[in-house]
């Protein structure tokens, strides 16, 4: 290489991933660089493809439930929740009030755990090591709660058709209360570390900006969409499972940058805690499982069941032909669609910002590749 070619600033192609620590899995990004500026980025996915949709077509409605734990393993509880709600709707199964509330409570715990993992890894990507340790401390508490009620920390297989498998174990309610009593102070702790941190501000403000119109056009959902100031939360607009009974705010950003998305997720954790507190204050006694068939055969028809997962709108499009197996089970993964916008978000930024932008989208490759 002589001097001239370097100064010419030819387009340089760089391969990032699939074994890159900040791609949160096995994402491969092919970057086209002009100097240190990103001209174009192409995401290459599919390294974790397991064909969950095909497997679901060959299992009956109950047997394919555990596979949805494995699609988005960070938010396994809410992933199963969306599927179970859809099948219950098609079969006309009624879920007892106690089970519905415990479901919402555990889904919100899952949202907190997922956001904590996001914050930890996002911070460590940008260079803040301490936050990682603090977040995992609280996440561990939630995983312990999961283990107590579901029997597993990560692949929980949380909900069954008609309700829950088991009721809350003794002492569980007290443990939940202890967590939510301590949690607001912990969030303040993270904020102390990051929100006014100069390095954090430099690295996140004005990075990966997307306007509301563009965010809608790219089909974003969840925090990336709300960060641009679009008031869209499935829990509020198309309430499912009894969310309409609880009071919570939907935080929204103004600038649509990485910093706003960070603030939104922190606020969402507080709002989730608020929902859990409401449930714990008013948790009725009673059954935890309604009557559900052992081999469910939904009537011929179709249903699109959507929930607000920690990452955005998670949809299950279930098509039944009256047989015990679904004729087609389409998963609408939120991060598959938001990762698509990476190309748009990254353009014009520095290579180091690519890491921050991948982090702010909160991708989980298990869900993207399915």
């Amino acid at each position: 290489m002589n001097r001239q070619t370097i100064l010419d600033t030819k387009e340089l192609e760089i391969n990032m991933g699939p074994q890159h620590p900040s791609t949160h899995g096995v994402l491969r990004v092919r970057l086209k660089l002009d100097g240190e500026r990103v001209v174009d980025a192409e995401s290459i996915i599919g390294y974790l493809h397991r064909g969950v949709e095909k497997i679901a077509e060959n299992r009956n409605y109950i047997k394919c439930t555990p596979y949805f734990d494995r699609t988005d393993y960070i938010a396994a509880v809410s992933n199963v929740y969306g599927y179970v709600l859809g099948v219950e709707k098609m079969l006309g199964i009624e879920v007892p009030e106690r089970a519905r509330r415990i479901r919402i409570m555990m889904t919100e715990f899952n949202r907190i755990a997922s956001h904590l993992l996001w914050l930890a890894t996002h911070a460590i990507d940008i260079g803040a090591m301490t936050v990682f340790l603090y977040c995992f401390r609280e996440r561990e508490e939630i995983l312990k709660l999961f283990e107590a009620i579901f029997g597993a920390r990560l692949t929980t297989h949380a909900f069954r058709l008609g309700g829950l498998w088991l009721d809350m174990p003794p002492g569980f309610e007290a443990a939940c209360r202890k967590f939510i009593d301590e949690f607001p102070a912990r969030v303040d702790e993270y904020e102390q570390l990051l929100t006014r941190n100069r390095i954090w501000l430099e690295r996140t403000k004005g990075v990966g900006v997307i306007s509301a119109e563009e965010a809608i056009d790219w089909g974003l959902s969840g925090p990336p969409l709300r960060g641009s100031g679009v008031d869209h939360d499935v829990r509020r607009l198309r309430p499912y499972g009894g969310y309409e009974q609880f009071q919570f705010d939907v935080p929204m950003g103004k600038h649509g940058d990485t910093y706003d998305r960070y603030l939104i997720r922190l606020e969402e954790m507080r709002q989730s805690r608020r929902i859990i507190a409401q449930i714990l204050d008013d948790l009725p006694d009673g059954k935890i499982r309604g009557r559900a068939p052992k081999i469910p055969k939904p009537p011929v028809g179709e249903y699109y069941s959507a929930i607000e997962s920690p990452r955005g709108e998670l949809g299950y499009y279930i098509v039944s032909d009256g047989s015990p197996q679904p004729f087609r089970l389409r998963i609408r993964p939120p991060t598959f669609i938001s990762l698509q916008a990476l190309r748009r978000l990254v353009r014009g930024h520095l290579v180091a910002d690519v890491v921050a932008i991948i982090g702010t989208l909160d991708i989980v490759l298990g869900e993207i590749d399915r």
Partner: protein, 351 residues
Amino acid sequence: MDDETRAKKTNPGGKKPKRARRSRIAGYRPKPKIRTARPERETPAAPPKKEASAAPPEEETRPAPAVKETPATPEEETPAARPKRRPRARAEEKTPAAPAEKETPAARPKRRPRPRPKPRIRARTKGETPAAPAKGEASADGPAKRTRAVRPARKRPVRKPLRKRPLRKRPIRKKRKKGPSYEDLKDDALLEGLKERFPGEILSGQSFLGQSIYTVKPGALYDVMLSLRDHSESPFDYLIDVSALDYLGDQDRFLMVYHLYSYATKKLVRVKSRFGEGDPVPSMTSIWKTSDWLEREVYDMFGILFSGHPDLKRILLPDDWHGFPLRKDYDIKLQDQSWIRNHLKIRKTPD
């Protein structure tokens, strides 16, 4: 081995080994044991007899010969089978018919709750009295009672459920009909607006579980979608999902399914259109940017081609993979063997 050889030597017939087994089993259950077991059951029932019938010593002596007089024992032993056996046997005898018929209908419904032993005792005492004095005759009548009593007991449970079953089936069928079904949309402004704008192109407007579905002719799909996005009242600016269904064997094999959402009216809509194999589907990438990857995935999984797509290639599977996994004729165990051999260096893969 011994049994088989014996059976072959003695009787070469096929059914004989079974008989040998039966005899064995019978050998393990010695007859006196069965008989002793039966009077044991009687004993709890017997003491009330003594109480009820006071203390006639003749009755006490009866259970002792009962071992010899087999006819008397089975009647007393199996109280559950009694009412079934008795009525017919006694109806044939005619002499104790009148008391027996009255007892049996009363005894059947009362059996399930516990305080029933009392009527049974009465029945026994009454029924036994005529049979007991004629001991010499009992040997002749007794065996006749057994054979007659056993046969009707087998027939009755078979007949009764047959009468009940058709009555049960009717309500179950009615329940099944209550499930959700497709209903035609009525007074749907969006459907009417579309029908006005695209006459003859909108095949149907239905709803299932409250979600509205519009079926469109493939030729007009792109224009309909464009008009939906630019709708004046409810612009469907959010393309939630693009997916496909494979109806193998139909003339138009693939069904494209689009989920749209309007932020203004908060309405969710599903648009469907049928396409044959090899027919290009108009790409929606110029309407919604979201559809880029979604259409690539549909191509990857179903092999549906999209006309006007900027970069139509596989997304989840490797570029040189053969076959489209979500098609119905692609078995779940099917793999691209040559790809696995070339890339993963696995020479022998399980069939």
